[in-house]
């Protein structure tokens, strides 16, 4: 094998240095590129519209202090919710088991399920409206 005919790239160097990565890209362009699937673009754009991706992209635009504030707010809120859940759960459980044993049927489960479903719907509506708000906000 003629070594002068081949060029070897280190992937680790490419991942660390833009110049190395670009040199590899140049070499690939010289030899010819593969055609990316036609649906790749729509698939990427669709994923970029997902809330989690947008949130990360949005928070990266904030200053370090604001990012830290947001993060601590999120953690505190999660901790508060967990504590609230821990306090409320035994009482709720007790109430449900008492009423369940009294009625000896399952409408209580149906009721709880319906309540959960209702809340779930409300949360998804809220997040949807929150998400839609961003477009006019940036349009202005």
């Amino acid at each position: 094998m003629d070594d002068t005919f081949y060029e070897t790239f280190s992937l680790e160097a490419m991942a660390a240095d833009q110049k190395e990565a670009e040199a590899f890209a140049n070499r690939l362009e010289e030899t010819g590129l593969y055609r990316a699937p036609a649906n790749l673009k729509s698939s990427i754009l669709q994923q970029s519209r997902q809330l989690d991706v947008r949130l990360i992209a949005g928070t990266n635009h904030l200053s370090k202090k604001t990012q830290l504030f947001r993060y601590s707010l999120k953690v505190s809120l999660a901790a508060a919710c967990s504590i609230g859940f821990i306090i409320a759960m035994p009482r709720l459980h007790e109430r449900y088991t008492v009423s369940l044993s009294a009625s000896s049927s399952s409408p209580i489960h149906v009721e709880a399920y319906e309540k959960l479903q209702k809340w779930n719907g409300k949360i998804s509506e809220l997040s949807k409206s929150f998400f839609d708000l961003e477009v006019p906000l940036y349009d202005e």
Partner: protein, 174 residues
């Protein structure tokens, strides 16, 4: 940069560099599906980290992200590449025929078609439409009158099945 500008920037980058990034990923992974996933991840990572981009050389920046994604993938899968002294080495042959050659393209397409045909319904038709005919998930949902989420789930499952089939064939052909 506002959200709308970021979206426009992403779209522009995809139009301009999707073939390059896909080629880098394919060259490094030698797997059509992994290359597709890694290309997606590269652009999404660029979108998320647009705030950190210095605005100078987007091509080099995207190539570096793609290389990092591929390196992480290869390190985790530990399958395709054999590390030499802690380094992943890629050899490029400038004398090789261009991969966009019609013969190679046809052979790849035929292999994809054969693998799609080995799947059971509804995954066969989903795989044919999405991977072979390169239809959009939205278009497919409209065509079949199904929920987009259902189609996306079927695509996800079909992709996993195709991956298994490809790997089985790789093993068979050495």
């Amino acid at each position: 940069m506002s959200r709308i500008n970021a979206d426009a920037q992403l779209e522009q980058w995809i139009d301009k560099y999707q073939n390059l990034i896909y080629s880098i990923c394919f060259q490094l992974t030698k797997d059509h599906f992994d290359a597709q996933d890694l290309t997606q991840e590269t652009f999404l990572s660029a979108y998320k980290n647009l705030a950190y981009f210095d605005g100078r050389n987007e091509r080099a920046w995207l190539c570096k992200i793609a290389s990092r994604k591929c390196l992480d993938y290869l390190k985790h899968s530990g399958r395709k590449q054999i590390p030499t002294d802690g380094q992943f080495l890629i050899t490029c042959s400038p004398a090789g025929p261009p991969p966009e050659d019609e013969i190679i393209d046809n052979a790849l397409n035929q292999e994809l078609y054969d693998c799609c045909m080995k799947l059971k319904e509804p995954y066969r038709q989903v795989a044919l439409d999405y991977f072979y005919h390169e239809m959009d998930a939205g278009e497919m949902a409209e065509k079949r009158g199904k929920n987009l989420k259902t189609i996306q789930t079927q695509i996800y499952r079909a992709k996993a099945m195709l991956r298994k089939l490809y790997r089985k064939e790789d093993l068979l052909h050495g």
